[in-house]
């Protein structure tokens, strides 16, 4: 399949992607950040499709914009997070973050721009068939390992987010009271 698209689409997607990305970092309200992240992921999926990875673009949109973002929004709602009051970014962190990020971006830009232009091949294979064949022949073993990984995640999430039993809750209260007087930790204080 011959693949060709005007570069305008690329620039449009790139600006969309980076604009939303800055939005995730800059927005004060976690829900706005989450919605920006949806924008990032959709733009990224479009960009992958533009680069020829059709199936991955679709998966990216489904998994991230669908499942993962639902999870984020769900947690934000569950914990009932409000818009942050006061500065949501400290000065020291601002300086550190911006300088680290710009240093990294500069390094990548420099190391990339020193190379001669590398043209992308016009023949593209990114359909589900090509990916699936490779995945289920060569990469079957890691695929099985991923099953164990998902098992770990399931067990862990259920264990961590299950409610404390009344018994445990009482133990915790007793210990928190005992600890803060015994070793002078401020456990009881901030909680």
């Amino acid at each position: 399949m011959i693949f060709w698209m005007p570069s305008m689409v690329f620039w449009f997607l790139a600006f969309l992607l980076l604009g939303f990305a800055v939005g995730v970092v800059a927005f004060r309200n976690p829900v706005s950040s989450a919605l920006s992240l949806v924008g990032v992921m959709l733009a990224l999926a479009a960009m992958m499709i533009h680069a020829g990875a059709f199936f991955l673009g679709a998966v990216q949109a489904l998994v991230y914009a669908g499942a993962v973002m639902t999870l984020f929004i769900f947690i934000v709602m569950l914990l009932n997070l409000k818009e942050e009051t006061g500065a949501h970014i400290g000065w020291a962190a601002l300086v550190g973050g911006v300088s680290a990020a710009s240093a990294f971006a500069w390094i990548v830009y420099k190391s990339v721009s020193l190379m001669p232009p590398l043209w992308l091949a016009r023949v593209v294979r990114g359909d589900a068939q090509a990916l699936g064949k490779r995945l289920f022949t060569h990469y079957q073993l890691p695929f099985e390992i991923t099953a164990i990984l998902l098992l770990v995640a399931i067990v862990g999430v259920v264990m961590l987010s299950s409610r404390l039993t009344i018994h445990e809750e009482n133990e915790r209260k007793m210990e928190a009271g005992g600890c803060s007087s015994a070793n002078g930790n401020k456990e009881g204080g901030t909680c």
């Binding site: 800055v22 991230y64 997070l81 949501h88 970014i89 990548v108 990114g126 995640a153």
Partner: protein, 101 residues
């Protein structure tokens, strides 16, 4: 002007550095997670483009695994946030002071 590999790489690098900046700057743990996701997604974009450049599918297969791993990681991370919130009523990094830094 045609789009080359370098264009995609610069976009991917910029996305990675915006994510890195967010991880360093933001105080809200959930937003920090979102920035972490952006960093992984940047690597995924680079892989997908490299896969086309190298004319083999290995990069795309790796992206597939990255998406899976990242989803599992987010689920676990959010569960850790929930269990922290249950004890502390906070999702701010500045309140993580029970262990002496």
């Amino acid at each position: 002007m045609l789009i080359t590999l370098q264009h995609y790489l610069v976009v991917s690098g910029l996305l990675f550095s915006v994510g890195l900046a967010g991880v360093i700057m933001r105080r809200n743990l959930i937003v920090v997670y979102m920035c972490l996701e952006m960093m992984l997604a940047a690597a995924a974009l680079a892989l997908a483009v490299f896969s086309r450049y190298n004319q083999n599918m290995d990069g795309q297969v790796l992206v597939f695994f990255v998406i899976t791993v990242a989803a599992a990681e987010v689920a676990v991370g959010l569960a850790i946030i929930v269990s922290l919130f249950r004890l502390c009523r906070t999702v701010q990094t500045k309140d993580l002071t029970h262990l002496k830094f």
